[in-house]
Amino acid sequence: MAQTNYSDIFKNPLSLNNPITVQVLGICSALAVTVELQPAIVMAISVTVVTAFSNLIISLMRNTIPSRIRIIVQLVVVASLVILVDQILKAFMYNLDKALSVYIGLIITNCIVMGRLEAFALGNKPVPALLDGIANGAGYGIILVIVAFVRELLGSGSLFGFKVIPQALYDLGYSNCGIMLNPPMALILIGIVIWIQRSKMKELQEK
């Protein structure tokens, strides 16, 4: 890469190279935390922070890490950051930390983090690496928020825990779609998001 193009680094992960819908990485947590908007947003922020800072740290150390043991070094850096995030959540948002349960710990093995470290941070300067981490975290967050928005709105008739569907509608016979709260719908919704994105961007379609 002769010329580092900052706007490309930032824009690509949001659409053309989205970590979830195009690279198909980090699905595990994406699906499990999207029953409601609030945990989804907290999860998105946590992943963004971890990706950004692990990218920055690994990029700073990239010339000193022997390539044979790089995976272990990366895991240790990521795990330390995740412990920090987990302790902060435990201290300030205990209920939310309980709701996210094991999925905070699973950020360590989130393929987005490892994937960006391997593909970008090991070969680039710290500032672009930091930006790349933030952008990929944001690309991940967008999908999380879309899926959580649909699931919470249709599943419980609320957004951020506040009722948004008026009582009058329920009186007319409308009822919440309970299956939206179950795990399978997360899979199907992501399938639909991919479908919409790929019919808009023809170059992403598989042969």
């Binding site: 595990c28 240790v76 795990a79 699973l106 093995t109 795990p183 399938g191």
Partner: protein, 205 residues
């Protein structure tokens, strides 16, 4: 009977893919043919069976609050549980490396089949997730943790072989162009998860 119940529950009801979405990344990436998915599934069962009991021992004799009391009274109140993430992942990475070397030395035929999948497994969320769920469920004996690992592993194996078989067939079907590949895999997987929901509520007594 308790153990049998746990076994059945971890295969069907708490299925790693359909109920908790653990290991989705490799699940979608490797499930294109039945043959490779059998290899990856077997490797997952194998690694789970070793890492979950080892992490169980670590959790109960080193990390948990009061777990260090075997060292003396002065250690009875030490709580190291904040270290569990880093210790678990280190154990998993080390064991995967070790298993790879042992299998290569003593069972070259097995290595030929599992070989390429073993390094992938160190960063498979299913392995780390099983250890974290083990920590959360607070099993009473190491036997239970072993049964849980076996059940989850088999559940993962079943899920990946099933979807691989379906994807092999789908490649001959006329799927709308934007849905081809990953898109349809997600939707099929969602439908399978709905089918697995019918196991909910099964309890052996």
């Amino acid at each position: 009977m308790e153990s049998l119940n746990l076994f059945i529950k971890s295969i069907f009801i708490d299925n790693m893919i359909f109920a908790t979405f653990l290991g989705m990344c490799s699940y979608l990436a490797v499930s294109k043919t039945v043959k490779t998915s059998v290899g990856l599934g077997a490797a997952v069962i194998f690694v789970l069976l070793i890492t979950v009991p080892v992490n169980y021992l670590l959790e109960n004799y080193i990390l948990k609050e009061g777990a260090l009391s075997w060292l003396g009274d002065g250690y009875a109140e030490v709580d190291l549980s904040f270290l569990s993430f880093i210790l678990f992942i280190a154990v998993i990475a080390a064991i995967v490396q070790l298993v790879e070397m042992i299998v290569e030395k003593f069972a070259p035929a097995l290595y030929g089949q599992l070989g390429i999948f073993l390094p992938l497994i160190a960063v498979n969320c299913a392995i780390m997730g099983a250890s974290l769920f083990m920590q959360q469920k607070e099993f009473e004996t190491i036997g239970d943790s072993f049964v849980y690992a076996l059940g989850s592993g088999i559940g993962w194996f079943i899920a990946i072989v099933l979807i691989a078989a379906i994807r092999e067939k789908i490649s001959y079907s006329n799927v709308p162009a934007p849905l081809k590949g990953v898109g349809i895999a997600f939707i099929v997987c969602g439908l399978m998860a709905i089918a697995f929901m019918s196991f909910m509520g099964i309890k052996l007594d």
